[in-house]
Protein backbone atom coordinates (compact mmCIF):
# COMPACT_ATOMS: atom_id res chain seq x y z
CA UNK A 1 0.00 0.00 0.00
CA UNK A 2 1.42 3.37 -0.95
CA UNK A 3 1.88 5.63 2.03
CA UNK A 4 0.59 9.17 1.81
CA UNK A 5 2.59 12.18 2.92
CA UNK A 6 0.64 14.37 5.32
CA UNK A 7 1.60 17.86 6.46
CA UNK A 8 -0.28 18.83 9.53
CA UNK A 9 0.01 20.93 12.66
CA UNK A 10 -0.18 19.23 16.03
CA UNK A 11 -0.42 21.34 19.17
CA UNK A 12 0.91 24.28 17.19
CA UNK A 13 3.94 22.43 15.82
CA UNK A 14 4.21 21.61 12.10
CA UNK A 15 4.50 17.87 11.54
CA UNK A 16 5.25 15.74 8.50
CA UNK A 17 4.18 12.12 8.60
CA UNK A 18 3.64 9.18 6.26
CA UNK A 19 0.33 7.37 6.73
CA UNK A 20 -1.50 4.45 5.17
CA UNK A 21 -4.66 5.65 3.42
CA UNK A 22 -6.80 3.65 5.87
CA UNK A 23 -4.93 4.70 9.02
CA UNK A 24 -7.03 6.64 11.44
CA UNK A 25 -5.85 9.95 12.83
CA UNK A 26 -5.56 8.06 16.12
CA UNK A 27 -3.10 5.61 14.52
CA UNK A 28 -1.25 8.53 12.98
CA UNK A 29 -0.90 10.35 16.29
CA UNK A 30 0.08 7.29 18.32
CA UNK A 31 2.17 5.26 15.91
CA UNK A 32 3.26 7.88 13.39
CA UNK A 33 4.03 10.75 15.74
CA UNK A 34 4.52 8.94 19.05
CA UNK A 35 1.82 10.97 20.78
CA UNK A 36 0.38 8.19 22.90
CA UNK A 37 -1.55 10.45 25.28
CA UNK A 38 -4.56 9.98 23.03
CA UNK A 39 -5.99 6.57 23.88
CA UNK A 40 -7.87 3.88 21.99
CA UNK A 41 -10.78 2.41 23.91
CA UNK A 42 -13.01 1.16 21.10
CA UNK A 43 -11.97 2.46 17.66
CA UNK A 44 -15.66 2.89 16.81
CA UNK A 45 -16.43 6.34 18.19
CA UNK A 46 -18.29 4.99 21.21
CA UNK A 47 -15.95 5.80 24.11
CA UNK A 48 -14.27 9.17 23.49
CA UNK A 49 -10.87 8.11 24.84
CA UNK A 50 -9.32 9.28 21.55
CA UNK A 51 -10.86 12.77 21.65
CA UNK A 52 -8.83 15.47 19.92
CA UNK A 53 -9.67 18.73 18.22
CA UNK A 54 -9.46 19.12 14.46
CA UNK A 55 -9.35 22.76 13.40
CA UNK A 56 -10.73 23.51 16.85
CA UNK A 57 -13.65 21.12 16.66
CA UNK A 58 -13.94 18.16 19.03
CA UNK A 59 -13.78 14.81 17.23
CA UNK A 60 -12.97 11.17 17.85
CA UNK A 61 -9.58 10.67 16.23
CA UNK A 62 -10.49 7.02 15.57
CA UNK A 63 -13.18 8.22 13.16
CA UNK A 64 -10.97 10.58 11.18
CA UNK A 65 -8.47 9.33 8.60
CA UNK A 66 -4.88 10.34 9.12
CA UNK A 67 -4.85 11.73 5.58
CA UNK A 68 -7.71 14.03 6.51
CA UNK A 69 -5.40 15.88 8.92
CA UNK A 70 -3.44 17.24 5.97
CA UNK A 71 -3.40 21.01 6.17
CA UNK A 72 -5.35 20.99 9.41
CA UNK A 73 -4.61 21.81 13.04
CA UNK A 74 -4.83 18.97 15.52
CA UNK A 75 -5.03 19.52 19.26
CA UNK A 76 -4.24 16.64 21.65
CA UNK A 77 -3.88 16.15 25.38
CA UNK A 78 -0.16 16.77 25.04
CA UNK A 79 -0.96 20.37 24.10
CA UNK A 80 -3.38 21.17 26.91
CA UNK A 81 -0.83 22.24 29.49
CA UNK A 82 1.10 25.28 28.39
CA UNK A 83 4.63 26.20 29.38
CA UNK A 84 3.43 27.79 32.61
CA UNK A 85 1.96 24.63 34.06
CA UNK A 86 -1.17 22.61 34.08
CA UNK A 87 -4.41 23.84 32.54
CA UNK A 88 -7.09 24.66 35.10
CA UNK A 89 -9.03 21.56 34.03
CA UNK A 90 -6.02 19.34 34.63
CA UNK A 91 -5.52 20.89 38.04
CA UNK A 92 -9.20 20.45 38.93
CA UNK A 93 -9.24 16.83 37.80
CA UNK A 94 -6.37 16.23 40.21
CA UNK A 95 -7.88 18.18 43.12
CA UNK A 96 -11.29 16.53 42.75
CA UNK A 97 -9.85 13.01 42.30
CA UNK A 98 -11.76 12.95 39.02
CA UNK A 99 -9.67 10.06 37.75
CA UNK A 100 -9.02 6.59 39.04
CA UNK A 101 -7.31 4.52 36.36
CA UNK A 102 -6.80 7.58 34.20
CA UNK A 103 -7.11 6.03 30.75
CA UNK A 104 -10.23 8.02 29.87
CA UNK A 105 -8.81 11.19 31.40
CA UNK A 106 -7.04 12.64 28.34
CA UNK A 107 -10.26 12.34 26.34
CA UNK A 108 -12.34 13.90 29.09
CA UNK A 109 -9.96 16.81 29.49
CA UNK A 110 -9.76 17.50 25.76
CA UNK A 111 -13.57 17.30 25.52
CA UNK A 112 -14.18 19.44 28.59
CA UNK A 113 -11.73 22.06 27.33
CA UNK A 114 -13.64 22.25 24.05
CA UNK A 115 -16.85 22.72 26.03
CA UNK A 116 -15.53 25.55 28.18
CA UNK A 117 -14.14 27.32 25.13
CA UNK A 118 -17.59 27.21 23.55
CA UNK A 119 -19.65 27.67 26.69
CA UNK A 120 -17.76 29.12 29.68
CA UNK A 121 -20.69 28.71 32.06
CA UNK A 122 -22.34 25.34 31.41
CA UNK A 123 -24.89 23.93 33.84
CA UNK A 124 -24.65 20.35 35.09
CA UNK A 125 -26.98 19.00 32.41
CA UNK A 126 -25.01 20.70 29.64
CA UNK A 127 -21.76 19.25 30.99
CA UNK A 128 -23.27 15.78 31.25
CA UNK A 129 -24.65 15.79 27.71
CA UNK A 130 -21.50 17.31 26.20
CA UNK A 131 -19.43 14.57 27.86
CA UNK A 132 -21.88 11.74 27.08
CA UNK A 133 -19.51 10.44 24.42
CA UNK A 134 -16.68 10.01 26.92
CA UNK A 135 -17.03 6.77 28.84
CA UNK A 136 -15.53 6.43 32.29
CA UNK A 137 -15.95 3.11 34.04
CA UNK A 138 -14.18 4.03 37.29
CA UNK A 139 -15.61 7.23 38.72
CA UNK A 140 -19.35 7.13 38.11
CA UNK A 141 -18.83 10.59 36.56
CA UNK A 142 -19.68 12.52 39.75
CA UNK A 143 -16.20 13.89 40.43
CA UNK A 144 -15.55 14.52 36.74
CA UNK A 145 -18.63 16.72 36.48
CA UNK A 146 -17.64 18.55 39.66
CA UNK A 147 -14.10 19.11 38.37
CA UNK A 148 -15.47 20.64 35.16
CA UNK A 149 -17.88 22.83 37.13
CA UNK A 150 -15.08 24.00 39.39
CA UNK A 151 -12.78 24.69 36.44
CA UNK A 152 -15.53 26.71 34.77
CA UNK A 153 -16.06 28.85 37.84
CA UNK A 154 -12.34 29.37 38.32
CA UNK A 155 -11.92 30.39 34.68
CA UNK A 156 -14.84 32.80 35.09
CA UNK A 157 -13.24 34.50 38.10
CA UNK A 158 -11.07 37.42 36.96
CA UNK A 159 -7.48 36.75 37.94
Amino acid sequence: MAKVHVSTTVNGQPQEVLVEPNDSLLDTLRDGLGLTGTKEGCATGDCGACSVTLDGRLVCSCLVLGVEADGKEVGTIEGVADGDGLHVLQQKFLEHAALQCGVCTPGFIVAAKALLEKNPDPDETTIRYWLAGNLCRCTGYDKIVRAVQDAASELATPA
Binding site: A2, P21, L58, V59, C60, L63, L65, V67, Y129
Partner: protein, 292 residues
Amino acid sequence: MGDYAYAAPSTVDSTVELLSNTAQSGGRAQVLAGGTDVLVQMRSVDREPRLLVDVKQLAETNKLSIGDEEIYIGAAIASAVLNENAELKGKLPGLIESADLIGSTQIQGRCTIGGNLCNSSPAGDTIPALIANSAVCHIVGADGERNVPVEDFLTGVGTNCMAPHEFLLGLRIPTPKGRTGDAYLRFIPRTEMDIAVAGAGVRLTLDENGTCTEARVGIGAVAPTALVVPDAAAALIGSNVDEAALNAAADACSAAASPITDKRGTVEYRTKVVGVLCKRAGAIARDRAVVA
Protein backbone atom coordinates in the same frame (compact mmCIF):
# COMPACT_ATOMS: atom_id res chain seq x y z
CA MET B 1 -6.89 -8.12 -2.38
CA GLY B 2 -6.30 -4.55 -3.52
CA ASP B 3 -5.13 -1.59 -1.52
CA TYR B 4 -6.86 1.29 0.15
CA ALA B 5 -6.50 4.68 -1.48
CA TYR B 6 -7.77 8.15 -0.70
CA ALA B 7 -8.68 11.09 -2.88
CA ALA B 8 -10.17 14.46 -2.08
CA PRO B 9 -11.20 15.98 -5.40
CA SER B 10 -11.86 19.71 -5.56
CA THR B 11 -14.62 19.81 -8.17
CA VAL B 12 -17.88 18.00 -8.70
CA ASP B 13 -16.82 16.99 -12.21
CA SER B 14 -13.58 15.43 -11.07
CA THR B 15 -15.43 13.65 -8.28
CA VAL B 16 -17.92 12.15 -10.72
CA GLU B 17 -15.10 11.22 -13.05
CA LEU B 18 -13.25 9.46 -10.26
CA LEU B 19 -16.35 7.54 -9.23
CA SER B 20 -17.18 6.62 -12.84
CA ASN B 21 -13.67 5.54 -13.76
CA THR B 22 -13.33 3.42 -10.65
CA ALA B 23 -16.67 1.74 -11.32
CA GLN B 24 -15.79 1.11 -14.98
CA SER B 25 -12.44 -0.40 -14.10
CA GLY B 26 -14.13 -2.83 -11.73
CA GLY B 27 -12.73 -1.10 -8.68
CA ARG B 28 -14.60 -0.01 -5.67
CA ALA B 29 -15.01 3.59 -4.60
CA GLN B 30 -16.79 4.83 -1.53
CA VAL B 31 -17.83 8.38 -0.90
CA LEU B 32 -16.58 9.76 2.39
CA ALA B 33 -18.29 12.64 4.13
CA GLY B 34 -17.94 12.75 7.92
CA GLY B 35 -16.72 9.15 7.97
CA THR B 36 -18.40 8.26 11.25
CA ASP B 37 -20.12 5.27 9.66
CA VAL B 38 -17.59 4.50 6.91
CA LEU B 39 -14.59 4.18 9.20
CA VAL B 40 -16.44 1.89 11.59
CA GLN B 41 -17.60 -0.35 8.75
CA MET B 42 -14.11 -0.45 7.24
CA ARG B 43 -12.78 -2.02 10.42
CA SER B 44 -15.51 -4.51 11.12
CA VAL B 45 -18.22 -5.68 8.78
CA ASP B 46 -16.59 -4.77 5.48
CA ARG B 47 -12.81 -4.71 5.42
CA GLU B 48 -12.48 -4.90 1.64
CA PRO B 49 -10.06 -2.22 0.45
CA ARG B 50 -11.45 0.58 -1.67
CA LEU B 51 -10.86 4.07 -2.93
CA LEU B 52 -12.19 6.58 -0.42
CA VAL B 53 -13.48 9.66 -2.19
CA ASP B 54 -13.66 12.54 0.26
CA VAL B 55 -16.35 15.02 -0.83
CA LYS B 56 -15.75 17.53 1.96
CA GLN B 57 -13.55 19.75 -0.22
CA LEU B 58 -16.36 20.59 -2.63
CA ALA B 59 -18.04 23.98 -2.47
CA GLU B 60 -21.34 22.39 -3.48
CA THR B 61 -21.46 19.91 -0.62
CA ASN B 62 -20.75 22.71 1.84
CA LYS B 63 -23.46 25.02 0.52
CA LEU B 64 -26.02 26.18 3.03
CA SER B 65 -28.77 28.55 1.92
CA ILE B 66 -32.07 29.58 3.45
CA GLY B 67 -34.38 30.95 0.78
CA ASP B 68 -38.02 31.93 0.83
CA GLU B 69 -39.02 28.74 -0.94
CA GLU B 70 -36.18 26.33 -0.30
CA ILE B 71 -33.60 25.56 2.29
CA TYR B 72 -30.50 23.85 0.87
CA ILE B 73 -28.23 21.84 3.12
CA GLY B 74 -24.99 20.62 1.57
CA ALA B 75 -24.34 16.93 2.10
CA ALA B 76 -20.96 17.34 3.78
CA ILE B 77 -21.78 19.93 6.45
CA ALA B 78 -21.09 18.59 9.94
CA SER B 79 -24.04 18.41 12.31
CA ALA B 80 -22.29 20.62 14.83
CA VAL B 81 -22.04 23.35 12.19
CA LEU B 82 -25.74 23.07 11.40
CA ASN B 83 -26.60 23.16 15.07
CA GLU B 84 -24.67 26.39 15.53
CA ASN B 85 -26.69 28.09 12.78
CA ALA B 86 -29.44 29.86 14.71
CA GLU B 87 -31.46 30.82 11.64
CA LEU B 88 -31.51 27.27 10.34
CA LYS B 89 -32.34 25.90 13.76
CA GLY B 90 -35.16 28.41 14.03
CA LYS B 91 -36.65 27.27 10.73
CA LEU B 92 -36.21 23.53 11.10
CA PRO B 93 -35.75 22.79 14.78
CA GLY B 94 -36.93 19.20 14.46
CA LEU B 95 -34.56 18.36 11.63
CA ILE B 96 -31.61 19.97 13.35
CA GLU B 97 -32.44 18.17 16.58
CA SER B 98 -32.52 14.91 14.66
CA ALA B 99 -29.04 15.64 13.31
CA ASP B 100 -27.93 16.59 16.82
CA LEU B 101 -29.01 13.16 18.07
CA ILE B 102 -26.45 11.30 15.96
CA GLY B 103 -23.81 10.08 18.38
CA SER B 104 -21.74 12.12 20.78
CA THR B 105 -20.42 15.66 20.70
CA GLN B 106 -17.34 14.19 19.04
CA ILE B 107 -19.44 12.47 16.36
CA GLN B 108 -21.34 15.71 15.85
CA GLY B 109 -18.11 17.36 14.83
CA ARG B 110 -17.91 15.07 11.81
CA CYS B 111 -21.23 13.45 10.96
CA THR B 112 -23.47 14.91 8.30
CA ILE B 113 -27.13 14.68 7.37
CA GLY B 114 -26.03 13.59 3.91
CA GLY B 115 -23.95 10.76 5.29
CA ASN B 116 -26.69 9.71 7.66
CA LEU B 117 -29.05 9.45 4.69
CA CYS B 118 -26.57 7.74 2.34
CA ASN B 119 -25.69 5.17 5.00
CA SER B 120 -29.38 4.32 4.63
CA SER B 121 -29.74 2.58 7.94
CA PRO B 122 -33.36 1.88 8.90
CA ALA B 123 -32.55 3.68 12.14
CA GLY B 124 -30.85 6.80 10.76
CA ASP B 125 -32.08 9.62 12.95
CA THR B 126 -32.33 12.36 10.37
CA ILE B 127 -34.31 10.32 7.87
CA PRO B 128 -37.80 10.45 9.45
CA ALA B 129 -37.27 14.16 10.05
CA LEU B 130 -36.23 14.64 6.41
CA ILE B 131 -39.29 12.72 5.28
CA ALA B 132 -41.57 14.81 7.50
CA ASN B 133 -40.01 17.90 5.97
CA SER B 134 -40.55 16.65 2.38
CA ALA B 135 -36.83 16.77 1.73
CA VAL B 136 -35.54 16.03 -1.76
CA CYS B 137 -32.11 14.54 -2.48
CA HIS B 138 -29.98 16.50 -4.92
CA ILE B 139 -27.86 13.88 -6.67
CA VAL B 140 -25.14 14.27 -9.27
CA GLY B 141 -23.51 11.64 -11.46
CA ALA B 142 -22.24 10.82 -14.91
CA ASP B 143 -25.71 11.42 -16.32
CA GLY B 144 -26.04 14.84 -14.74
CA GLU B 145 -28.14 15.97 -11.80
CA ARG B 146 -31.40 14.56 -10.50
CA ASN B 147 -33.75 15.19 -7.58
CA VAL B 148 -35.31 12.32 -5.63
CA PRO B 149 -37.66 12.56 -2.63
CA VAL B 150 -36.05 11.02 0.47
CA GLU B 151 -38.71 8.34 0.83
CA ASP B 152 -37.96 7.20 -2.74
CA PHE B 153 -34.17 7.48 -2.26
CA LEU B 154 -34.13 4.57 0.18
CA THR B 155 -34.44 1.10 -1.30
CA GLY B 156 -33.66 -1.22 1.61
CA VAL B 157 -31.48 -1.86 4.63
CA GLY B 158 -28.27 -0.01 3.82
CA THR B 159 -29.17 0.56 0.18
CA ASN B 160 -30.35 3.52 -1.85
CA CYS B 161 -31.11 4.49 -5.42
CA MET B 162 -27.72 5.98 -6.27
CA ALA B 163 -25.57 4.40 -8.99
CA PRO B 164 -21.84 3.87 -8.32
CA HIS B 165 -21.04 6.99 -10.36
CA GLU B 166 -23.42 9.18 -8.37
CA PHE B 167 -23.18 10.98 -5.05
CA LEU B 168 -25.33 13.25 -2.94
CA LEU B 169 -24.66 16.96 -3.22
CA GLY B 170 -27.26 18.21 -0.81
CA LEU B 171 -30.84 18.26 0.39
CA ARG B 172 -33.61 20.59 -0.71
CA ILE B 173 -36.25 21.29 1.90
CA PRO B 174 -39.34 23.44 1.40
CA THR B 175 -39.00 26.49 3.63
CA PRO B 176 -41.63 26.37 6.39
CA LYS B 177 -44.27 29.07 6.05
CA GLY B 178 -46.81 30.51 8.41
CA ARG B 179 -47.66 28.51 11.49
CA THR B 180 -45.50 25.51 10.71
CA GLY B 181 -43.54 23.41 13.14
CA ASP B 182 -41.48 20.24 13.01
CA ALA B 183 -40.20 17.81 15.59
CA TYR B 184 -38.34 14.53 15.78
CA LEU B 185 -38.14 12.14 18.69
CA ARG B 186 -36.47 8.80 18.96
CA PHE B 187 -36.35 6.25 21.69
CA ILE B 188 -33.06 4.91 23.03
CA PRO B 189 -32.37 2.98 26.24
CA ARG B 190 -29.82 5.50 27.47
CA THR B 191 -29.92 9.28 27.21
CA GLU B 192 -27.23 9.39 24.52
CA MET B 193 -24.97 7.26 22.33
CA ASP B 194 -27.49 4.64 21.18
CA ILE B 195 -29.03 3.78 17.85
CA ALA B 196 -32.74 4.58 17.65
CA VAL B 197 -35.02 1.75 18.70
CA ALA B 198 -37.84 3.70 17.04
CA GLY B 199 -38.16 7.25 15.77
CA ALA B 200 -40.87 9.58 14.53
CA GLY B 201 -40.71 12.94 12.77
CA VAL B 202 -43.68 15.26 12.29
CA ARG B 203 -44.08 18.51 10.40
CA LEU B 204 -47.41 20.26 10.43
CA THR B 205 -49.00 23.60 9.58
CA LEU B 206 -51.87 25.20 11.48
CA ASP B 207 -54.33 27.84 10.30
CA GLU B 208 -55.25 30.83 12.43
CA ASN B 209 -57.81 28.74 14.30
CA GLY B 210 -55.27 26.13 15.20
CA THR B 211 -56.61 23.63 12.74
CA CYS B 212 -54.00 21.50 11.06
CA THR B 213 -53.99 22.13 7.32
CA GLU B 214 -50.89 20.21 6.32
CA ALA B 215 -48.99 17.40 7.96
CA ARG B 216 -46.36 14.83 7.17
CA VAL B 217 -45.16 12.04 9.38
CA GLY B 218 -42.04 9.91 8.96
CA ILE B 219 -41.06 6.94 11.09
CA GLY B 220 -37.77 5.10 11.51
CA ALA B 221 -36.27 1.87 12.86
CA VAL B 222 -39.55 0.03 12.45
CA ALA B 223 -39.20 -1.21 8.84
CA PRO B 224 -36.37 -1.94 6.35
CA THR B 225 -36.38 1.77 5.49
CA ALA B 226 -37.78 4.85 7.13
CA LEU B 227 -41.37 5.33 6.01
CA VAL B 228 -43.74 8.12 5.26
CA VAL B 229 -47.05 7.49 7.05
CA PRO B 230 -49.92 9.17 5.15
CA ASP B 231 -52.55 7.78 7.52
CA ALA B 232 -50.87 9.47 10.45
CA ALA B 233 -50.82 12.76 8.56
CA ALA B 234 -54.47 12.30 7.63
CA ALA B 235 -55.34 11.81 11.29
CA LEU B 236 -53.81 15.20 12.10
CA ILE B 237 -55.10 17.22 9.14
CA GLY B 238 -58.37 18.91 9.96
CA SER B 239 -57.91 18.45 13.69
CA ASN B 240 -56.65 20.80 16.37
CA VAL B 241 -53.88 18.28 16.95
CA ASP B 242 -55.56 17.40 20.20
CA GLU B 243 -55.07 14.24 22.15
CA ALA B 244 -57.60 12.28 20.11
CA ALA B 245 -55.94 13.25 16.83
CA LEU B 246 -52.48 12.51 18.21
CA ASN B 247 -53.65 9.13 19.45
CA ALA B 248 -55.10 8.39 16.01
CA ALA B 249 -51.81 9.40 14.38
CA ALA B 250 -49.96 7.21 16.89
CA ASP B 251 -52.16 4.25 15.99
CA ALA B 252 -51.50 4.87 12.30
CA CYS B 253 -47.74 4.81 12.93
CA SER B 254 -48.02 1.59 14.91
CA ALA B 255 -50.09 0.11 12.10
CA ALA B 256 -47.56 1.17 9.48
CA ALA B 257 -44.65 -0.34 11.39
CA SER B 258 -43.30 -3.74 10.43
CA PRO B 259 -40.30 -4.00 12.72
CA ILE B 260 -38.03 -6.88 13.66
CA THR B 261 -36.90 -8.14 17.02
CA ASP B 262 -33.20 -7.59 17.55
CA LYS B 263 -30.70 -6.58 20.19
CA ARG B 264 -32.27 -3.13 20.37
CA GLY B 265 -35.93 -3.97 20.76
CA THR B 266 -38.76 -6.35 20.10
CA VAL B 267 -41.49 -6.22 17.46
CA GLU B 268 -44.08 -5.48 20.13
CA TYR B 269 -41.96 -2.82 21.76
CA ARG B 270 -41.10 -0.96 18.59
CA THR B 271 -44.66 -1.11 17.29
CA LYS B 272 -46.00 0.46 20.43
CA VAL B 273 -43.26 2.99 21.05
CA VAL B 274 -43.22 4.39 17.51
CA GLY B 275 -46.80 5.47 18.16
CA VAL B 276 -45.87 7.05 21.50
CA LEU B 277 -43.08 8.96 19.78
CA CYS B 278 -45.39 10.17 16.99
CA LYS B 279 -47.84 11.42 19.59
CA ARG B 280 -45.16 13.25 21.56
CA ALA B 281 -43.40 14.65 18.47
CA GLY B 282 -46.76 15.76 17.08
CA ALA B 283 -47.47 17.72 20.24
CA ILE B 284 -44.06 19.42 20.06
CA ALA B 285 -44.53 20.26 16.37
CA ARG B 286 -47.96 21.70 17.17
CA ASP B 287 -46.60 23.84 19.99
CA ARG B 288 -43.83 25.07 17.71
CA ALA B 289 -46.36 25.87 14.96
CA VAL B 290 -48.46 27.90 17.36
CA VAL B 291 -45.60 30.27 18.09
CA ALA B 292 -44.08 30.20 14.59
